[in-house]
């Protein structure tokens, strides 16, 4: 498992490149690589902009039936999200974007888990499996 800091725009680019390599090395198709990297970009930006910075962890995982996947884990210690259900609806926005970041990222991956405690931070875990 690799851990990458997210403290600047450059870090977001580095996370994208790292995720791209991990996805390509583990047999994800070009479209699935692109979807995972795009989701990673949305989530890394959230970590930076809304969470005040944090970390991304990248892990290669294996399912019970032997499929390989790439698991990403984003954490921050920012203000957190009071209503996670609401935050996952299309169009929900803090005002700076289109409100597609979280909901869009969820559509691009196979597994998505959002946990947040107001005042403590937010973590998002996603997995994309090879076909």
């Amino acid at each position: 498992m690799d851990e990458l800091p997210i403290q600047s725009g450059d870090d977001v680019v580095r996370v994208r490149q790292f995720v791209r390599n991990a996805a390509a090395d583990n047999g994800l198709s070009l479209v699935d690589q692109t979807k995972l990297v795009t989701a990673a970009s949305e989530l890394a930006r959230n970590t930076l902009v809304h969470g005040g910075g944090g970390t991304a962890r990248v892990e290669v995982v294996k399912s019970a039936n032997g499929r390989v996947g790439v698991k990403l884990y984003f954490t921050d210690e920012g203000p957190g999200i009071p209503d996670t259900e609401l935050a996952l609806t299309d169009g929900w926005s803090t005002g700076t974007g289109l409100g597609l970041g979280l909901s869009g990222a969820r559509r691009l991956v196979d597994e998505f888990e959002l946990a947040s405690t107001p005042g403590t931070g937010t973590s998002v875990t996603v997995v994309k499996w090879s076909r």
Binding site: G9, V31, K35, E42, S103, R107
Partner: protein, 117 residues
């Protein structure tokens, strides 16, 4: 932060994005293009994203904004060279890039700007 160069060819501004875009670079491009449109009086903008591996919601929104800004300066924007995987991902993300014209490649984009199609 890396900057994206803007080339003027005739009445068209040509932007080919060859870097891994970070948010600041996209915002800078938007400002540089507005300045260049005023300075040059160009009537068209071609943005080539052949080398762009991902377009997320922020980059997508900025591309749409560039289209809207260009229109205020009497210029039309054509986005060219989108990769198939990027198009599929953008659609699934829920982004439609409303208001920006697209073409398969730079040559077809120029034809649109020159009114040949």
């Amino acid at each position: 932060m890396e900057r994206v160069p803007i080339l003027k060819i005739g009445q068209t501004l040509f932007v080919s994005i060859q870097i891994d875009l970070q948010d600041e670079s996209v915002i800078r491009l938007q400002e540089d293009l507005a300045d260049e449109l005023v300075a040059s009086g160009a009537h068209g903008v071609i943005i080539d994203i052949t080398a762009v591996e991902i377009v997320d919601s922020f980059i997508g929104r900025m591309l749409t904004t560039i289209g809207s800004i260009s229109r205020l300066f009497d210029a039309e924007t054509v986005l060219v060279g989108m990769r198939p995987a990027v198009a599929i991902t953008l659609t699934e993300l829920g982004l439609s890039l409303n208001g920006v014209r697209t073409a398969l490649n730079a040559e077809k984009g120029l034809e649109i700007l020159n009114g040949k199609s």
